[in-house]
């Protein structure tokens, strides 16, 4: 059983880092996981994305055309990646920057004001981690417990003082989100 995720947004939103935290969470949980970024000239346009594939067995393709979950933090990414969500898949959007619209009826939608929630914590820089919390609420195989461990692993000793803020961001949305 393989599940894949695409994180997308503009440069500076911590897209690659959010993906890295998720991939670490899966690794700590003992699952097979891969993380693959867009790279090179593709990044020059200002949008960034990365793909995470998690699997019970060895991961097959690390880069796929379609995805189970797209986590999009800006409008451009919403417009681009909505076409890549599998039928029955889910798009999770940052409604602070993405207009609520449901152009496809074969996928699920989650809108959460992620940048706003991050600003409530004092900085928009944790928007990416807020998005991970939203993902955990919408996706049963993603656990906040392991995401918290992923945050600790990624921030490590060097940025230890940032861990409490990021844990708060992870829990900015506590209830199950409606899909």
């Amino acid at each position: 059983m393989e599940t894949n995720f695409i994180f997308a947004g503009f440069g500076g939103q911590g897209i690659l880092l959010a993906g890295t935290i998720l991939a670490n969470a899966f690794m700590i949980e003992g699952k097979n996981v891969t993380w693959y970024p867009c790279y090179g000239a593709e990044m020059r346009g200002g949008t960034v994305n990365c793909e995470i594939v998690v699997s019970d067995s060895e991961v097959s393709s690390v880069h796929k055309q379609d995805t189970d979950y797209a986590i999009v933090l800006n409008q451009q990414s919403f417009d681009r990646f909505i076409t890549r969500v599998k039928s029955g898949g889910t798009i999770i959007a940052n409604s602070t920057l993405v207009a609520e619209a449901r152009p496809r009826n074969d996928i699920k939608y989650v809108f959460a004001p992620m940048t706003e929630l991050a600003n409530d914590l004092g900085t928009s820089k944790v928007t990416n981690v807020v998005s991970l919390g939203v993902l955990a609420s919408a996706c049963s195989i993603v656990s906040k417990e392991f995401l918290a461990k992923g945050i600790e692993k990624v921030l490590g000793a060097k940025k230890k003082d940032l861990i409490p803020l990021n844990i708060k961001a992870l829990n900015a949305i506590s209830e199950e989100v409606t899909v």
């Binding site: 996981v33 891969t34 693959y36 970024p37 790279y39």
Partner: protein, 362 residues
């Protein structure tokens, strides 16, 4: 890292770089090119920190020749680059093979020919395996398929280079270089090779040594080429490695190298679920190539489908190994988007129906 067996989520490029450090690589020389620049970036700090050698070379020509100079003194050294810039190193690789210098070169393949682009591809198979330099020579070519193998085969590259005094190329691709996956480093698992019989360290208490490839005597030249050839036969005998999955009862064997291996393994499962008896074969060493093993599978009546991200380069080696004993088909794409499991499955089904071979070429 505190625990060497602990898994870390790491990029292929960083995994190669850290494995080189662990293997005792004393010097790194390189020039930036996407998609492998992280190797040089990582090592620039690391080598300084460890008091080892690092040069931002003026070019790939400079870099590979610095490696040759360094390894001539008996230390482990390497460079890394990608495709079009690996082309710049071909002259030196021919020299290194002739000089029997244990050079380690990493090629994180992008697209060619020419400048091409930074999309991952597998188009440098021929260059790596058959040599882009002049004359009769062989590189040992290792192709990792996972980030863990980026670690394991980097270790092996340093070991084999010194064991046989032969240049080794680690042939990875942009996908592997850029992706992250859990990997553990462990300890460098190979014994240190005694280089004291040939390494240059100053002619103290012994005859002066020269490492060179010029032979003005025809007989000596012939002898030298034959010696190199014989050495590679021994390498082929001892060091040919491959993986196979589900080939015993397979009617059709998918063959891939490098990171495409992952996709054929997944495709095999899907095909089997559909009642098609598929197996997988994956050369780990592209040179020496497991001709014998493929030939033996062909003798047992198995058909082959070669899946690769180029216009059919390893395909020819598989055909050569099969020697007409069974059908060999090609499923490929020139570069870019890796052939998906679904594409491979439908292409194999197409091949089985007797359809066009280049089922997924666009």
């Amino acid at each position: 890292m505190t625990n060497k067996d602990e898994k870390v989520l790491i990029k292929g490029n960083y995994a190669i770089a850290q494995a080189a450090v662990n293997a005792g690589c004393q010097c790194y020389f390189g020039y930036p090119i996407t998609p492998q620049t992280e190797i040089g970036e990582y090592l620039s700090g690391k080598m300084q920190e460890l008091g080892r050698g690092y040069v931002c070379a003026e070019s790939e020509l400079g870099a590979i020749n610095m490696v040759m100079g360094a390894v001539a003194t008996g230390v482990k050294a390497m460079t890394s680059s990608s495709s079009c810039a690996i082309s710049l190193m071909q002259e030196a690789l021919s020299y290194a093979a002739s000089d029997e210098l244990p050079v380690v070169v990493v090629n994180v393949m992008r697209t060619g020919p020419g400048l091409g682009y930074i999309y991952p591809a597998q188009g440098d198979y021929n260059q790596a395996v058959y040599g882009g330099g002049n004359g009769d020579y062989n590189l040992i070519v290792l192709a990792p398929s996972t980030v863990q193998e980026c670690v394991d085969l980097t270790y092996r590259a340093f070991y084999l280079a010194q064991k046989y005094r032969n240049p080794v190329m680690l042939l990875a691709d942009g996908l592997l270089g850029q992706m992250m996956e859990p990997a553990s480093f462990g300890e460098y698992p190979y014994p240190e090779i005694d280089v004291s019989s040939w390494a240059l360290n100053g002619a103290k208490g012994r005859e002066a040594r020269k490492i060179y490839s010029v032979a003005t005597d025809e007989k000596k030249q012939i002898q030298h080429i034959c010696d190199l050839h014989r050495k590679f036969e021994i390498i082929a005998e001892n060091e040919t490695t491959y993986e196979e999955f589900g080939v015993d009862d397979a009617e059709i064997v998918l063959v891939a190298f490098g990171s495409m291996t992952r996709n054929i393994k997944a495709a095999m499962k899907v095909l089997r679920a559909k009642g098609i008896k598929a197996g997988c074969f994956r050369p780990v060493t592209l040179n020496p190539f497991p001709h014998k093993q493929i030939h033996n599978l062909a003798k047992r009546g198995k058909e082959f489908v070669v899946v690769e991200m180029n216009m059919g380069q390893m395909f020819k080696d598989v055909k050569y190994a099969v020697e007409g004993l069974s059908k060999v088909s090609l499923v490929n794409r020139a570069c870019g988007e890796w052939l998906s499991v679904e594409e491979i499955v439908s292409s194999v089904e197409n091949v089985l129906r007797g359809g066009k071979q280049l089922a997924a070429s666009l």
